[in-house]
C-alpha cells in the first residue's frame, strides 16, 4: 500500500498551498505604488525604500504561520526552503539581515497599523480599515 501514500502526500501538500489569499498591506498613510517586483525587492533585502524614497520596513510571518509558505511561493516565487538558503548565504557572509518575523496575522496587522514605514502581509480575510491593501495574491 505504500504507493498509495506516495500519491496522497503530494496531493495533500498541494491542496494546502492553494488555500488562502495573501493580502500585502502597508500603513493607511502610505501612498506609494508597490507592485510584485517591488515587494520581492524589499523582502529579499535588495532594497530598503519605497519607490518614492521613503524608508521601508518589511515584516515577515514566522515559518510556523501557514500563510508564510503561500507568501513565499505566490509572491516571491520560491519555496520557504529556497528563501532560507538565500538568507543563510547573506546572513553568514555579512551581506544582509532577513526581515523581522511576527507570529500571526493579528501581530502583523497591529505592527503594520502602528508603523508608517512597514510592509507586511496577512490572510485577505483578516483585513480591516487599520491597514491598506496594496495587492492580493
Amino acid at each position: 500500500m505504500n504507493w498509495f501514500k506516495v500519491l496522497l502526500v503530494p496531493i495533500a501538500l498541494t491542496s494546502q498551498l492553494v488555500a488562502a489569499e495573501v493580502a500585502v498591506i502597508v500603513h493607511p498613510s502610505n501612498a506609494a505604488a508597490v507592485d510584485q517586483a517591488e515587494i520581492t525587492r524589499l523582502f529579499t533585502g535588495r532594497g530598503t525604500s519605497f519607490a518614492g524614497g521613503a524608508k521601508a520596513t518589511p515584516l515577515n510571518l514566522a515559518e510556523s504561520a501557514a500563510l508564510r509558505a503561500d507568501f513565499d511561493s505566490k509572491v516571491l516565487g520560491k519555496s520557504s526552503s529556497q528563501m532560507k538558503a538565500y538568507w543563510s548565504k547573506l546572513v553568514f557572509t555579512g551581506k544582509g539581515t532577513p526581515p523581522k518575523e511576527l507570529g500571526d496575522d493579528a501581530a502583523m496587522k497591529a505592527a503594520v497599523a502602528a508603523d508608517p514605514t512597514a510592509i507586511g502581509y496577512i490572510d485577505a480575510a483578516s483585513v480591516d480599515a487599520s491597514v491598506k491593501v496594496i495587492g492580493k495574491f
Binding site: 503530494p10 501538500l13 517586483a37 525587492r41 535588495r46 532594497g47 530598503t48 525604500s49 515559518e63 519555496s79 520557504s80 526552503s81 532560507k84 538558503a85 538565500y86 543563510s88 548565504k89 546572513v91 553568514f92 557572509t93 555579512g94 551581506k95
Partner: protein
C-alpha cells in the same frame, strides 16, 4: 596574536552591545559521513586510497567510515551597537580540526547609506563564488563546493571591505572592494598534506573586488584579486627565481541560472602565480522536484603538473524548512604527473544533514 586581538575586540563590542541592544545568535551545522569505496592512493608518497574533499582544512576520506572531513558547526553573534554600527563574530568548529572552535569572522560593520557598507576586521576572502559561505552547506546544492576548485591554502584575511548594492531597472548590481593581509603561521594544507615540515604562508598587499549582476533567475559574478606571497619552510624563506616574494593574480567568472526549477551553476577561474597558470572550472546542473533536487557536477583543476577532476552525482532533499539531507557520489580522477599528484583516483560515497538556525 592578530587573530585573537580582532576576535577579542569584536567580542567585547558584542558584549557591550548586549548591555543596550539585543545580540542575535544564529548558526549552522553539517553532520556528514562517508568513505572511499575504491581508490588508487599515491604509491610515490605511500598514500592509501584517499578522497581529499576539503583542501584548505585538509578534510579527507579513506576506506574507513568517518564523519570528520565535512562535518562542522558555526555560531554567529551579531549586535547593533548604535544606529548603523554592528559587531559580528562567527566561530566555526570543523571535524577536520577535531571540532576546535576558532573565530573565522570578527568584524565591525557600518552602514554609510542605503547603498554602501564599510567593514573592518577578520573576514573570509571572497575569491570564488562559494568561498565566503563555504561552511554554510545548507545554502548550496552539494555536500561541498567541488574540491578541485576550492584548493587554496588561505581563506581568511584581516583588513577592510566596502560593499555596495544598487538597483538598475530589473537588475541588482552589488559587490565589494577589499584590501588586507593574512599571516598563517602554520598552514595546514602546506604543512601537513603537501609536506611534512611547518610552513608559514603569508599573503600580503591583498587587493580585490567582486561585481555581481542579479536579475530574477539569472546571476553573474566577476571576481579579481592580486596579492603578494611569502613563504617560510621551517623558518627559512622560500625563494622563487631568487626572490623571497612573488605576486599572484586571480580572476574568475561565475554564471548561475535558476529557471523553472532547472538549476545551472558554473565557475571559471584562473590564478597566475609566478608566470604559471592554475585553471579551475566547474559545471553543475540540477532539477528541483518539490523537496527533491537531483544534481550532477563536473569540476576540474589544471596547472603544470597538477591535473585532477571530479564527477559527482547526488540529491538534495529539503525534508524540513531549516534542514536538508544530501547524498553524493564522487569520482575523482588524478592525472597529475612529475610529482604533481594529489591523492590519486578515488570513488567515494558521502551523505549527511545540513541545517541552519
Amino acid at each position: 596574536m592578530k587573530k585573537s586581538i580582532a576576535g577579542m575586540a569584536v567580542l567585547l563590542a558584542i558584549y557591550c552591545g548586549q548591555l543596550q541592544a539585543e545580540t542575535e545568535i544564529s548558526g549552522f551545522a553539517s553532520v556528514v559521513g562517508g568513505k572511499v569505496l575504491s581508490g588508487t592512493g599515491v604509491e610515490a608518497f605511500g598514500l592509501e586510497p584517499t578522497f581529499l574533499a576539503n583542501y584548505p582544512t585538509v578534510g579527507f576520506y579513506t576506506e574507513e567510515w568517518t564523519f570528520k572531513p565535512d562535518s562542522k558547526y558555526g555560531l554567529q553573534f551579531s549586535s547593533e551597537l548604535t544606529e548603523g554600527l554592528t559587531a559580528t563574530a562567527q566561530m566555526v568548529g570543523r571535524g577536520a580540526d577535531d571540532y576546535k572552535a576558532k573565530f573565522e569572522w570578527a568584524y565591525l560593520s557600518y552602514a554609510l547609506n542605503e547603498h554602501w557598507t564599510l567593514q573592518a576586521g577578520k573576514k573570509r576572502l571572497p575569491l570564488y563564488y562559494y568561498s565566503d559561505f563555504f561552511d554554510v552547506s545548507y545554502a548550496y546544492l552539494w555536500i561541498r563546493p567541488p574540491a578541485d576548485n576550492y584548493t587554496w591554502q588561505i581563506f581568511n584575511y584581516n583588513g577592510v571591505n566596502a560593499q555596495f548594492n544598487y538597483q538598475l531597472e530589473d537588475w541588482t548590481v552589488s559587490g565589494n572592494i577589499y584590501t588586507g593581509r593574512e599571516d598563517d603561521t602554520t598552514n595546514k594544507l602546506l604543512s601537513e598534506f603537501f609536506g611534512s615540515e611547518p610552513v608559514r604562508e603569508i599573503w600580503k598587499n591583498i587587493v580585490g573586488g567582486v561585481l555581481s549582476f542579479n536579475r530574477d533567475w539569472f546571476d553573474l559574478r566577476l571576481t579579481y584579486m592580486t596579492y603578494q606571497n611569502e613563504r617560510f619552510r621551517s623558518g627559512a624563506p622560500v625563494l622563487w627565481n631568487g626572490e623571497n616574494s612573488r605576486r599572484g593574480k586571480f580572476a574568475g567568472i561565475s554564471t548561475n541560472i535558476d529557471y523553472n526549477n532547472w538549476i545551472l551553476l558554473s565557475e571559471l577561474n584562473r590564478l597566475t602565480l609566478d608566470g604559471s597558470d592554475f585553471d579551475t572550472y566547474l559545471v553543475s546542473g540540477g532539477y528541483r522536484i518539490n523537496e527533491w533536487t537531483p544534481y550532477i557536477s563536473y569540476a576540474d583543476f589544471d596547472s603544470e603538473g597538477e591535473v585532477h577532476s571530479t564527477t559527482s552525482v547526488g540529491v538534495r532533499w529539503d525534508f524540513h524548512s531549516s534542514a536538508a539531507f544530501k547524498v553524493q557520489y564522487d569520482d575523482v580522477s588524478d592525472d597529475g604527473f612529475s610529482g604533481g599528484q594529489v591523492a590519486g583516483d578515488s570513488k567515494s560515497l558521502t551523505f549527511g544533514i545540513d541545517l541552519v538556525f
